[in-house]
Symmetry: C2
Subunit: 360 residues, 2 copies
């Protein structure tokens, strides 16, 4: 199952990342974002995404999908089969937007919410027509490169919607992982939040600076987690005795005073200032755009190299990356039929042309 | 400043990892470990480490240092300038071992403890002669590949000892980060512990399996953290508005019910069994040795590829890796002088030969 046309509601960092991934897969996207700067911002993200995809596909990219800026949600979602909602994390706003999407979207379209934390059950109550097709589809920044998407269904979500969502997101090179029980913040952000809270304490207490903390991560366990998660890493750490040994050895540490778990640091101006100042010291020599460029180049390089290890079979994100690049490469080489090429020249039949260009 | 001879007290996963890094840097190591299996276990780690280093240096490795199994701590530390303690994490055992090391080590030798969590001040009280030369030097598994070493001084540690330790660990390709204030578990393990505790809850509550959790990590933020830490990543996530914007947007989430922060999961047999069983399902198709091989190949590949990004200058662990491989490559090519080659043939002057082979 593939996506014929997508709609993006919200074009911030995450929304624009979705738009970039979809367009670079040759899929037309209609976007709605009331920000007058939206077009410029999406354009910036597209520039970065194109550069990253050129690194993946030096021989050429597939023909990009067409991006349309819609004036209303109704217009954006009218003929989409995937609608990705990426508006700010306020429940009342999600309700308003999802109600509007629900009212105007084709009945069988999948509605994916990019929320990092709100439970789908709490959102789908606002959808009066077809709440059963709402799933949380929580991606990670940059969306056009990182493959993970957490899929979470709510009380009213049909299992079929989850199956279709898995297929749709897989079709654009992603790794959908279905979360078994609905909880706030799902899995990825629970882990991130736990580490983030601890990190704030470490900075606040002057144990290290943000740069030192970042170095500690990227010269050690960050390198491990790019290819194996914590359980597989710890299984190895247990040595020949494996996981049970590791658990027996390190389990009790949980009760030791090794984290600030009982408390949340007060999030005041002083802490924000401390962190922002240290962050400037660490990174202000690069603009955000330069940092994005470096990040993207590194991400592509890591996924590419992981696609070649393990006897050439690839490993983890590398195996997926290999398939993705191969598929995009084929898409790029696909000859456009005469009829399709002609049709492309005229707006109204654009969709037929796209379909012809994509099949097979 | 370089290491002429090292001693390793304890040859478990971490101790043997130190031994491997040192030997592969051409440094002689004397090890003490009462485990009758120690020699075999260290041999296994050496096998893996050699394979990884051959991947880094296909044209040949430097001549390995000589490994000696000492019968006592006194014998092991006798003429070492770096002594690495990696015994199990029990304070009374650390005290016993450190007292013994202190008694017999050369006065100016640095004593580095591999402890993951015990404060150096709590350990050095057992050292009656020279507590001022104890530092925590906390590495990450696999020690022969991951560059980070957290350096922590205690109340009695001289600042000079920290400076010397930084130089010694740097000389074997590592990235020392000095922790500014002494706390239990330092920085890396605080972050790991926070994530680990949250992960245990997620498994216990049936939100996901260990395999799903690992996938969630390695297809998303794990790829990010191999090259940028969380603060730099979040700076970018703030978009054009940067870090202050990110903090303003996500700060309040800390107060939301997004983690199980107020509680520690009960670490009972049921939880151990659940995790160990799921870990078997995820990974039992590979032996621990096979997993180590895959992990090491991936780590070398990632560091290697990161040594080529950023306009060829490399980035993060990649830049360090590039220098390390270059240095080892030079060491491997260094012609052994006639005299040194001759001396090498006879045991007693071996050290002179090694010194000749290492200088310049």
């Amino acid at each position: 199952m593939t996506i014929s046309k997508a709609a993006a509601i919200g074009g911030g960092v995450i929304g624009a990342g979705w738009v970039a991934r979809l367009l670079l897969n040759g899929i037309d996207v209609s976007i709605f974002d009331p920000d007058p700067e939206a077009e410029r911002k999406v354009g910036e993200v597209m520039k970065g995404a194109r550069r990253a995809y050129r690194q993946m596909l030096p021989e050429g990219l597939p023909k990009e999908g067409k991006l349309t800026f819609a004036k209303t949600i109704a217009e954006a979602v009218a003929d989409a089969d995937l609608i990705q909602e990426s508006v700010p994390e306020r429940l009342e706003l999600k309700h308003k937007v999802l109600a509007e999407i629900d009212l105007h979207a084709p009945a069988n379209a999948i509605v994916g919410s990019s929320t990092s934390g709100i439970k789908p059950s709490d959102m789908q109550v606002a959808m009066k027509k077809h709440p059963e097709r709402l799933v949380v589809a929580h991606p990670f920044n940059p969306v056009y490169l990182l493959p993970l998407v957490e899929i979470v269904g709510g009380e009213q979500t049909f299992p079929e919607a989850i199956e279709v969502a898995k297929e749709l997101y897989s079709s654009i090179g992603m790794k959908p992982v279905v979360i078994r029980k609905e909880i706030e913040a799902f899995v990825g952000d629970r882990l991130l939040e736990a580490a983030w809270r601890e990190a704030l304490w470490l900075i606040k207490d002057g144990i290290c600076t943000v740069e030192e903390l970042d170095d500690i991560m990227r010269y050690s366990f960050g390198l491990r987690w790019a290819q194996m998660g914590m359980f597989q890493v710890y299984r190895i750490a247990g040595g020949e005795a494996g996981m049970r040994h590791f658990m027996a050895q390190f389990g009790p540490c949980l009760k030791w005073p090794w984290t600030k778990l009982m408390d949340v640091p007060e999030f005041n101006d002083e802490l924000v200032e401390l962190i922002a100042t240290q962050s400037d010291e660490q990174s202000s020599k690069w603009s955000i755009r330069e940092l994005e460029k470096i990040r993207d180049e590194n991400l592509v390089a890591i996924m590419d190299v992981l696609s070649k290890t393990n006897g050439g079979k690839g490993w983890g994100a590398g195996t997926l990356h290999k398939d993705y690049v191969k598929r995009l490469g084929k898409l790029a080489k696909k000859p456009v039929s005469q009829a399709a090429a002609k049709a492309k020249a005229t707006k109204p039949v654009k969709k037929a042309a796209r379909a012809a260009g994509k099949k097979g």
